[in-house]
């Protein structure tokens, strides 16, 4: 069961989401490379999952009854790492080792390296299939946990993604919910220029999935979408979450050039100042 998102809880989550964005900027500056826009755009969804939706225990990352959150587009791992650290899976100071020698925080996530990572990912289009494997295993063992798979819009250009979409419908995997980060950008430009994906909703519907569209940067709306997805039976569900890449940092928002790079010192300073202003605004709302 996922609880209602009260106003108080929503404010708390908004504060956490801003802290997550700040840490993303700090760790990317320290790492000197990595993806900026996707992680910032997905900070709200990660906050909603790890601080409200998921049934999990950071102190027991291998607990068999946990909900699984599979990150298919591994390149946005800065947001996963920051969220896991904030949730208590490992020390926050370790975030500054991202992409460095002997770090558990690999440039793309590796399952056996760090607690809380469900799959090794980076090469695109493989996450839904792996989530299907977990959903089938759970069903065979009569386990009640849910499998959530976070994907990018760009990786819907991979054939493997559609193989998986066909399969999940065939086996009526209602313990699987896919979330698409529909931010419209990929490395080479906008998705509709590189290789058009629209109409994603109709594509999924014609593959016999239950489709929900929502604003992925609106916590209340997103939590409602997940609750709705959980109420679907005999069908896998997909949430097309419209997000703003780079959200919270004005010069990164909706700019595909920020898909695959990290900020320099000056840019990071500006980004952090914007995020602190946002944090101040949230705090004043709270008072």
């Amino acid at each position: 069961m996922i609880d209602d998102l009260t106003d108080k809880k929503e404010l708390e989550l908004r504060g956490i989401a801003v802290e997550i964005r700040e840490l993303i900027i700090k760790m990317l500056l320290e790492a000197g490379s990595g993806h900026s826009a996707g992680p910032l755009g997905m900070a709200d969804i990660f906050t909603a999952f790890y601080f409200h939706i998921l049934n999990h225990d950071p102190k027991k990352p291998d607990w068999d009854g946990r909900d699984r959150l599979v990150l298919s587009n591994g390149h946005i791992c800065p947001v996963l790492y920051v969220t896991l650290a904030k949730a208590g899976y490992f020390p926050i100071k370790e975030l500054m080792t991202l992409r460095k020698l002997n770090s558990r925080l690999q440039g793309h996530p590796h399952r056996t390296a760090l607690p809380g990572i469900e799959t090794t990912s980076g090469p695109l289009g493989e996450g839904i299939s792996q989530s299907i494997g977990m959903a089938l295993a759970a069903r065979m063992d009569n386990k009640r946990h849910q499998i959530y798979c976070l994907t990018s819009d760009g990786e819907h250009q991979e054939g493997n993604t559609w193989e998986a979409i066909m399969f999940a419908a065939k086996y009526k995997l209602d313990n699987l919910t896919v979330v698409i980060d529909r931010n419209n950008i990929q490395i080479d430009g906008t998705t509709e220029n590189v290789m058009p994906l629209e109409t994603l909703r109709l594509k999924y519907e014609s593959f016999n999935w239950y489709v929900i569209e929502t604003d992925g940067n609106n916590l209340e709306g997103f939590v409602d979408a997940v609750r709705q997805a959980r109420s679907v039976h005999e069908q896998p569900s997909v949430i097309i979450a419209h997000t703003i890449p780079g959200l919270g940092v004005d010069f990164m928002e909706n700019n595909y050039l920020w898909h695959g790079k990290s900020p320099d010192e000056k840019q990071a300073k500006e980004a952090l100042s914007e995020l602190r202003t946002l944090q101040g605004k949230i705090k004043s709302e709270h008072q």
Partner: protein
């Protein structure tokens, strides 16, 4: 003579030697594993019968999943199940899996350390009439650089059964290589089998050369050894059923003992058994070597025996290679 310790089939050299395909041993092994272990699961990409996964599929329909013609999806679904307590077998032709889905396996099964066994079928030119598109002759080379992978190539259907069961009884990724056509049964149910331990099928007191063979090609090596013995040339024939981890101790010992090595495989020499053994001996004990296998060419349609002759991989070719290796011994 045949190694008496291994309790091999005494009728090996008879005209009426019983034949079976190694893929049949996979089918029975998978079925038997399914009986004893409820966590064993099988996936197929529309090739259930010809990869012999049908026996398992019929017996345990709730643990069998038909993926359709989608080898990448099959590999990654298996990866998800393999990290969720299941022992997963995926079956297809080796040119498709681990061919077409190579990177998917690399990332989601090997690096991810998931408990998945990749059964690659129709390996080698022995696949015959289907032609080169379906004859996997590069699969060993393409998988053996994966860190931590086990690679097992059973020599006959009995060993295929044992290899399948052994792979399922141990956690971790494994590649199993099977062939389509029937081949002579060399072992018996009493013949021991241990992953990673090469078996010397043919022994002699003063061997002048050792033939390292893998898969059903071990039979042609034995036929060559018997003919060579009649000519007064004594050899050893060792069945290298596990390519990785390689039994380096046995290989180095026998290379030192004989001073002449021949490798025999139905696969490209580059990156195959020949390459594996050459690398090992170059480091530990440089030895005169000859290679029997595919020489940087694709196969073609034809009967298996015709193809082995055309591509110089039959017993006659092995005999020639042994003589050449002996003549080139390093002093």
């Amino acid at each position: 003579m045949l190694n008496p310790d291994l309790k091999l089939n005494e009728k090996i050299f008879g005209q009426d030697v019983e034949k079976d395909a190694t893929r049949s041993g996979y089918g029975t092994g998978l079925f038997e594993l399914g009986k004893t272990n409820p966590n064993v699961v099988a996936l197929s990409a529309d090739l259930t019968e010809s990869t012999k996964a049908d026996k398992f599929a019929k017996a345990y329909p709730e643990r069998f999943f038909q993926v359709g013609v989608a080898e990448q999806n099959m590999a990654a679904i298996a990866a998800g199940m393999g990290v969720s307590g299941k022992t997963v077998f995926i079956s297809s032709y080796a040119t498709f899996s681990p061919g077409k889905n190579w990177e998917t396996i690399r990332t989601t099964i090997i690096y991810n350390n998931s408990n998945v066994k990749i059964a690659g079928h129709h390996a080698g030119v022995m696949t015959g009439p289907d032609g080169a598109t379906h004859q996997a002759t590069e699969d060993i080379a393409s998988v053996r650089s994966w860190p931590g992978i086990k690679i097992i190539i059973p020599c006959d259907s009995i060993q295929a059964n044992l290899a399948t069961i052994a792979s399922g009884n141990e956690y971790g990724p494994c590649y199993l290589r099977f062939s389509r056509d029937k081949s002579p049964i060399m072992t018996t149910p009493e013949t021991p089998f241990e992953v990673g331990k090469a078996q010397t099928f043919w022994v002699s007191e003063t061997p002048q050369a050792v033939i390292f063979a893998t898969g059903y090609m071990t039979y042609y090596a034995l036929v060559a050894a018997k003919k060579l013995e009649q000519e007064g040339i004594n050899t050893l024939v060792t069945n290298v059923h596990t390519i990785k981890p390689l039994d380096t101790q046995t290989i180095i010992e026998q290379a030192k003992q004989t001073g002449a090595v021949v490798t025999v495989e139905d696969h490209q020499i580059a990156g195959g058994l020949g390459g594996v053994i050459a690398e090992t001996l170059a480091q530990h004990s440089p030895t005169s070597m000859e290679f029997v296998g595919m020489r940087d060419v694709f196969g073609e349609s034809g009967k298996p025996e015709e193809l082995l002759k055309k591509y110089e991989m039959d017993s006659e070719a092995i005999i020639g290679a042994v003589k050449k290796a002996i003549s080139r011994k390093l002093t």
